[in-house]
């Protein structure tokens, strides 16, 4: 459903993504790992449409040329991004924000606005998913939220937006053990045959819960290794040393059961 071909991204003359290829099928969960500065967040923002990057290559989501679309059009096409640093919007009620967001994409798809009653039902289910109380919706968007609450709010939004493709950028960073469990089980219950996910993370812990279908290692703007979830275990044990400062040819042979490389 998502095809990324030879994607490059530069910012202020510095190239960050250097020809990235990625194919994601229906319902698949792909983890992207990699050292700091390897281009993981840039990949997420390039997909979501953040301004300020010079891009080349081709990205299609369900056949639609993603790079030609504005961020809001990509959202309407079914792309959702979970932000590493969710943004605070003081004075704007969380519930109002969510309803406006949902109705915006519905309108763009030619659907009717959701009724207040149906929305409330949807919001209640989403709240349960992230184990938050009703008052969570009555606070201003992310304003004064703790780090954990902000991340839970991202998952809550994903539950409401029901995207085709979720790109979760370090949704597990800065979480304590309980919050991580809640976030992971939230993500797991939102998995389905019609929803694919790209999970960007530094840590094995989240992947222990999620058991992604594929794990990719992103180094210096390219995917240098792909495998199943055992690749993540290898990384946890050995770090990225095997992949950093080597040409691709120098990657040592490792026995990786089911690796797709």
């Amino acid at each position: 459903m998502l095809h990324v071909e030879n994607l490059t991204a530069s910012i202020g003359g510095t190239q960050i993504l250097k020809g990235l290829d990625l194919a994601i099928g229906e319902g698949e969960v792909h983890a992207v790992m990699g050292p700091n500065g390897s281009g993981k967040s840039t990949l997420a923002h390039a997909l979501a449409g953040r301004e300020g990057y010079e891009l080349s290559g081709r990205v299609t989501l369900d056949g639609a040329d993603l790079l030609d679309l504005e961020p809001e059009e990509r959202a309407a096409a079914g792309l959702f991004m979970g932000f590493q640093y969710p943004v605070e919007i003081p004075g704007v009620n969380n519930m109002y924000f969510l309803r406006t967001a949902l109705n915006s994409v519905r309108k763009a798809r030619g659907d009717d606005e959701i009724s207040a009653r149906d929305f409330l039902g949807l919001a209640r289910e989403a709240l349960e998913l992230v184990e938050m109380k009703q008052d969570f919706l009555n606070r201003a968007v992310n304003a004064g939220f703790s780090g954990g609450e902000k991340k839970r709010n991202e998952i809550l939004q994903m539950a409401i937006m029901q995207p085709r493709l979720a790109v979760l950028d370090e949704t597990d960073s800065g979480l304590d053990i309980d919050a991580l469990r809640i976030i992971a089980s939230g993500i797991n219950s939102l998995r389905g045959p019609e929803r694919s996910m790209i999970v960007i993370t530094h840590y094995q812990r989240l992947l222990d819960y999620l058991k992604p279908d594929f794990v990719h290692v992103l180094v210096d703007g390219r995917i240098v290794e792909s495998g199943d979830h055992t690749l993540a275990t290898h990384l946890e044990d050995h770090g990225y040393a095997d992949f950093v400062n080597h040409d691709l040819d120098d990657v040592p042979d490792r026995s990786l059961s089911g690796a797709a490389s």
């Binding site: 300020g52 809001e72 943004v87 919007i89």
Partner: protein, 480 residues
């Protein structure tokens, strides 16, 4: 990044949707201001001698005063002799009833979304409609009279309730208070008068709607609200004007008297024509608004200022009685070439008096927005308390925001708090909203409305919706 900045600025530029003119047959005085002008206005209105004398005294005071230049405003010199000080729509002969409003005026107010026909009014609001200098109609008079509430044009009040007017006129804003108040006192043509008897809770919102229509005229209205002991009233004013290339002068005075335990809530949605992107045209808005709060009384000013080329306005409260309360909630938007120098004065005289000031300034385009506020606690004001919060939001790089607080504390038991912040609408906020599917314009409008939330929450419900819409329209631009 530069593109994004540009778009932000374009978002702030907007069309003015009330810029039409209505072709009314108007009775207009020749330009110029001298004793003869005052006598003409007074004669046109059949005023009693005491009022004419009051006006003449004000004119003499004004002539001896200097135009103030302390505000952070750049204004072309105003030629007070080139302005006409009297303009009134000529009433058309009516077949059915003399009280009927001229259909053209009614149409004008329909266009503005202000129905003057009582049966058409959905909300529980009585309206006094003022065109140029004269009140054209007041709705729901009978309903209000049943509660003992007087709500009428200022001219009618001078005729029908002369004692009430004479007692309170100039009691809060004296003739010599300032240059523009003196000018208004000399030439004011009409306005609204409102009297709430002791213990009465006014059964509906009262509203005055001001419309400047004629060319080369100034508008000088006067509003006087007297709330007797233990009474309660909520009052709203709205204003619009046609788009014209010249600057038009609006110098109003509003006086509020809240007797013991009375409460007055005064809300303004000001949308005078702001002029165009190059600073051509627009209303010069010089307004003096002040209330006097007696023992246990409360006066609350809420304003949403989106219009006018120049805004010079400091709605104030004299906290005279013990335990009296003053509040000021303000949203001021300056875009295009608009300049606003606005704020409040809270003068604490009584003991245990409290005041709250929440000011939200939004600058866009090449707009300049200055908050100027005075908090003063007199020696008698034991345990006075003030809390002030001034937030400025900048949209774009060619606009400016200033916060100028004056604090004078003469009683050591007073507590005065001042907080100020300046922020911009972040590109990351817009991106976040857009990633969730909202258009850039919707996102901008949502973020700015969020910034103003604390003030909008103070507006009566129907006007809060109106204010949000107005702000969105004022921010709408050519994006998308």
């Amino acid at each position: 990044m530069t593109d994004q900045r540009l778009e932000l600025e374009q978002l702030a530029e907007a069309g003015y949707e009330y810029g039409f003119t209505t072709d009314l047959d108007t009775d207009i005085a020749p330009p110029g201001l001298d004793e003869g002008t005052i006598r003409l206005i007074s004669a046109k209105k059949n005023e009693p001698d005491w009022l004419l004398e009051w006006r003449l005294k004000a004119l003499a005071a004004w002539q001896a005063m200097e135009e103030p230049d302390w505000a952070k405003l750049e204004i072309d010199p105003i030629d007070y002799q080139s302005i006409s000080y009297w303009a009134a729509p000529k009433p058309k002969p009516q077949l059915e009833s003399m009280d009927e409003v001229d259909p053209e005026i009614r149409e004008m107010f329909d266009k503005l979304g202000i129905p003057l026909h009582e049966q058409k009014m959905l909300s529980n609001v009585a309206v006094d409609a003022i065109v140029d200098s004269v009140s054209v109609t007041t709705t729901f008079k009978e309903t209000l009279a049943e509660a003992g509430v007087i709500f009428c044009s200022f001219s009618e009040a001078v005729n029908d309730h002369p004692d009430l007017v004479r007692e309170h006129l100039g009691s809060v804003v004296p003739v010599r208070d300032n240059y523009f108040a003196a000018l208004n006192s000399a030439v004011f043509s009409d306005g609204s008068f409102c009297y709430i008897p002791a213990g009465v809770r006014c059964p509906m919102e009262l509203s005055t709607y001001f419309r400047i229509n004629s060319q080369n005229t100034g508008q000088f209205e006067r509003t006087l609200i007297v709330a007797e002991e233990g009474s309660h009233v909520s009052y709203l004013e709205g204003c619009t004007a046609p788009m014209r290339d010249e600057n038009q002068l609006h110098a109003a005075v509003v006086e509020l008297v809240a007797k013991d335990r009375a409460e007055i809530k005064y809300s303004t949605v000001q949308n005078w024509y702001p002029g165009d992107e190059n600073g051509v045209g627009g209303i010069y808005n010089f307004v003096t608004k002040r209330g006097r709060a007696h023992t246990d009384a409360k006066i609350s000013w809420t304003q949403v200022e989106t219009g006018s080329a120049i805004t010079w306005k400091y709605p104030s409260v004299i906290l005279q009685g013990d335990r009296s309360v003053g509040e000021f909630y303000s949203v001021a938007l300056s875009s295009k070439r608009q300049q606003a120098d606005t704020g409040t004065k809270m003068v604490h005289i009584g003991a245990d008096t409290t005041s709250t000031i929440i000011s939200k300034g939004i600058s866009a385009g090449r707009g300049q927005n200055t908050y100027r506020g005075l908090v003063k606690t007199m020696r008698s004001a034991e345990n006075a308390r003030n809390y002030t919060q001034c937030d400025s939001l900048l949209l774009g790089k060619d606009c400016g925001a200033n916060t100028i607080p004056y604090i004078e504390v003469k009683n050591p038991t007073a507590q005065v708090e001042h907080e100020a912040s300046t922020s911009t609408v972040g590109e990351d906020q817009l991106y976040y909203c857009r990633q969730r599917g909202m258009s850039e314009e919707d996102a901008m409008s949502m973020i700015v409305n969020g910034f103003c939330r604390e003030v909008f929450d103070e507006l009566p419900m129907e006007f809060a919706v109106e204010a949000q819409r107005l702000l969105s329209v004022s921010l709408e631009g050519s994006v998308g």
